[in-house]
């Protein structure tokens, strides 16, 4: 069966510090991968998605970036965090086109102080 992992689970970082959040998927190959952010009191916002190694699409302009160095690894990064980057970050994967549901990881709670 497929599983998706995210770490860390929680993170408190000062403004201006770098960020690296990791997401890995097991039990599937060539998944579509997604990064979402859920800010307090708001819905989920798609940040990045990837259909393959090295292929990243950005949905909104911001100071975050994403990379996919391996088929089942998706990394969200920032060089300098802003207060507005605080939120709950969710990674998700999707399998073959015939199955179009996405499966979500447990999330990372990021607080920028």
């Amino acid at each position: 069966s497929q599983t998706i992992h995210q770490w860390p689970a929680t993170l408190v970082q000062p403004v201006g510090s770098p960020l690296s959040l990791e997401c890995t998927v097991e039990g599937t190959s060539n998944p579509n991968l997604y990064w979402y952010r859920q800010a307090a009191g708001r819905g989920l916002q798609l940040l990045f998605y990837s259909v393959g190694i090295g292929q990243i699409s950005s949905e909104v302009p911001q100071n975050l970036s994403a990379s996919r160095p391996q088929d089942r690894q998706f990394i969200l990064s920032s060089k300098k965090l802003l207060l507005s980057d605080s939120g709950f970050y969710l990674c998700a994967w999707k399998g073959p086109p015939v199955r179009n549901e996405q499966f979500f990881g447990p999330g990372t709670r990021l607080t920028v102080l």
């Binding site: 819905g43 989920l44 709950f88 969710l90 999707k94 979500f104 999330g107």
Partner: protein, 112 residues
């Protein structure tokens, strides 16, 4: 363009009474629709999905939803609420490329 509207930001029900969470969608083609549940500080769990098969979709934990094209609705229901159902629920429509458009969520409170 596609969109989804969750009509209630908060719903309160008593334990053992029915649950109705409302969702309306807009789509220029036959949509794929989903309901997810999110417990505090957890990821999203898929409750059920509609992908142009049966219009009445049964999901996990006793939830079901009915796709009504004439009303452009996909409301989530459960006959009897349980305390463990207290959570936030998201209605989602998927575009042709598999990208999700989320509703703003409905927070369900279950009263003892």
């Amino acid at each position: 363009a596609q969109s989804v509207t969750q009509l209630d930001s908060h719903v309160s029900v008593s334990e053992g009474t029915p649950v109705l969470l409302r969702c309306n969608y807009s789509s220029s083609y036959s949509p794929s629709l989903f309901w997810y549940v999110q417990h505090p500080n957890k990821g999203l769990q898929l409750l059920l999905k509609y992908t142009s098969a049966a219009t009445l979709v049964k999901g996990i934990n006793g939830f079901e939803a009915e796709f009504k094209k004439s009303e452009t609705s996909f409301h989530l229901t459960k006959p009897s609420a349980h305390m463990s159902d207290a959570a936030e629920y998201f209605c989602v429509v998927s575009d042709l490329f598999g990208k999700y458009i989320f509703g703003t969520g409905t927070r369900l409170k279950v009263l003892a």
